[in-house]
Amino acid sequence: MLIRTGRDGFHHPVAGDITPQAVYQRRRELLKLMAGGAAGAALAGWAAREALASAPRPNKLAPLPGQPSTVPGAATMEKLTSYEDATSYNNFYEFGTDKSDPAQNAHTLRTAPWTVEVDGLVKKPAKYALDDLLKLAPQEERIYRLRCVEGWSMVIPWVGYSLSKLVERVEPLGSAKFVEFHTLADRATMPGIRSSVLDWPYVEGLRMDEAMHPLALLSFGMYGEVLPKQNGAPVRMVVPWKYGFKSAKSLVRIRFTEQAPKTAWNKAAANEYGFYSNVNPDVAHPRWSQATERRIGEGGLFAKRRKTLLFNGYEAQVGQLYAGMDLKKNY
C-alpha cells in the first residue's frame, strides 16, 4: 500500500525528526575530506563564510566572530530570528518588566571595566577580567533555539564557548554539586532594581553535570557581534534546553556550592518555577499550557503556534542527564 503514514520517514512533523545538524555537518566534513587538498581547503573556507553570512550583520556593535561549533546539537538549521526582533523583545527585569523596556533602558549599563568572580568550592578561585574570559577558549558560533517560559521562542546565533572550559580552569572540589550564577544588580544604572518584582540580585543555577554539558554556553556575542546590553552584555549564560530565564544575563559572579542555589524565580513563585525548568510540553505551567509556542517573527499575524519539543528539541543531547527522574516533580 502506498498510504503514507507519519512513520515512513517522508513526513517531518517536528524539526527534531530532521537529520541533526551535527550529523549533517559530519557528512559534509567527510565530503570535504574526500574532495581533498586545495578543493577541500576552499570548501572549508566557504562553509565558514556561509555560517557567518547566515547571520545578518548590523555592524552597530564590535564584531565578535566565532567558528561554527562542532558540538552535537549546537547548530539548528531553523530560520534565524531577525536581529531587530531578538534585540527589541526581551525579558531583562533589571531594566523593566515590559518587553520593550530593556532595549529602551539598558543603554545606561556600563560593561567596561567588567570582572566576573569565580569562587566557592573550587581549587583556583579567581576574578576574571572580561578580556581574559574572552580569550580563555576559542569563540564558537552556535545557533540555538530559545524557549521562554511565557510561550514564545526565537532562534539566535550566539557566540561563546562551553561553560565547561571555564569550570575546568577553576578546578571544582569534589564537594561542588551546583553552580550559582549572579547577575549584576546596580541600582544606579538598572531602573528595574527599584521594583520588588524579584529579590535582587538575580540568581540562577545549574547542577554540576548540567553546567559541564557542552551545550551549556558562556556567551559573549550574538549575530557575529558582542552582546547588545539588553541581551545581557557583556557575558551571559545560554542553556538551550531550559526555559529562557535559566540563562542569567550580565554575569558578575559564578559560585560553586554544595546546596542547590536559591534561584530568583523559584523564590518568587516556587510552584510556578522549579529549579530545573527544563522545557517540557507535558508539564504545564500552573497558569498555562506549555504544549505550544509562538516563534517570534514567523509568518506574521496568521502564523500558527508550534508544538513545543521536550528539552526544547535537545533531548538527544541532554536527555540522559535526567534519566530516572520524575520530570513532573522535578519541573
Partner: protein
C-alpha cells in the same frame, strides 16, 4: 439675553460631537488594522494586537461609565446621547480582543481554547466578562428597551458594573506573573471612582433615579 444662544452653541451640544466622538473611538481600530496590514505590530504581533485591543476595551468602558457622572456633574443632560454609542464601542473592542485571542493566537483551535479557558483563571474571567456584555449589547436598541420595559432593561444593564469588576480582575491576573500592577491600579481607581460616585449618590439620595 445673550445667555440662551451661547448655551445652545455650547460645544457639549454641537451636532457634530457624536459623529466626531464615534470617529475618534474608531481611530485605534483603524491604526491597529493598518499596522497589522503593514507588519508594524512588532516582534510578537498577536500579543501586541490582543493587548492593545484589551487596553482600548478598558478605556472605552471607563468612558462609557463616565458619561452619567459627567452628565450630572456638568449639568449637561445631552451627554446621555453618547452612552449607548460608547457602550457599543466597548463591546466592539472586547469582541475584537476575543477574536484576536481565539483567531490569531490560538488559531481557532476550539479544543485548545476550551482547555485554555479551563486552565487559566484570567482567561475564564475575561471570557465571562465578554459573555456578560453580549446581552447588554444585543438589548441596546430602542425596541429592545420597549420590549423589556425600562425597569427590567435597567436592571439588566446594571450588569455593566459586574463587567467592570471582572475586567479589572482579568487585567490584574494577567499582570500577576510580573507583579506589575501600576496600570491595573490606574484603571481600578478610575472604574472604582465611577462606581463609587454612583453608590455614594444612591446612598445619599435613595429617591433619585440611579444613573
Amino acid at each position: 439675553m445673550a445667555a440662551a444662544p451661547r448655551a445652545r452653541r455650547s460645544p457639549w451640544l454641537h451636532p457634530a460631537a457624536k459623529p466626531l466622538l464615534f470617529a475618534a473611538a474608531l481611530l485605534p481600530f483603524a491604526w491597529l488594522f493598518y499596522a497589522a496590514a503593514t507588519d508594524q505590530l512588532g516582534a510578537n504581533p498577536q500579543e501586541h494586537l490582543i493587548r492593545s485591543l484589551g487596553d482600548w476595551t478598558l478605556r472605552l468602558l471607563c468612558l462609557t461609565l463616565a458619561v452619567t457622572p459627567l452628565r450630572v456633574l456638568a449639568g449637561q443632560p445631552a451627554l446621555a446621547r453618547f452612552r449607548r454609542m460608547l457602550g457599543l464601542l466597548t463591546f466592539f473592542y472586547a469582541s475584537l480582543h476575543l477574536v484576536a485571542y481565539a483567531g490569531f493566537d490560538m488559531g481557532l483551535d476550539f479544543a485548545e481554547i476550551a482547555a485554555d479557558i479551563a486552565k487559566r483563571p484570567f482567561i475564564l474571567v475575561g471570557f465571562s466578562a465578554f459573555l456578560l456584555m453580549a446581552p447588554l449589547a444585543t438589548t441596546s436598541f430602542n425596541r429592545a428597551i420597549r420590549a423589556l420595559g425600562a425597569a427590567r432593561w435597567q436592571a439588566l444593564h446594571r450588569a455593566v458594573y459586574l463587567v467592570a469588576g471582572l475586567a479589572i480582575l482579568h487585567f490584574f491576573w494577567m499582570r500577576a506573573g510580573k507583579n506589575d500592577f501600576a496600570e491595573v491600579f490606574v484603571y481600578a481607581a478610575i472604574l472604582g471612582g465611577l462606581l463609587g460616585w454612583r453608590l455614594w449618590r444612591r446612598l445619599r439620595a435613595p429617591q433619585l433615579q440611579p444613573g
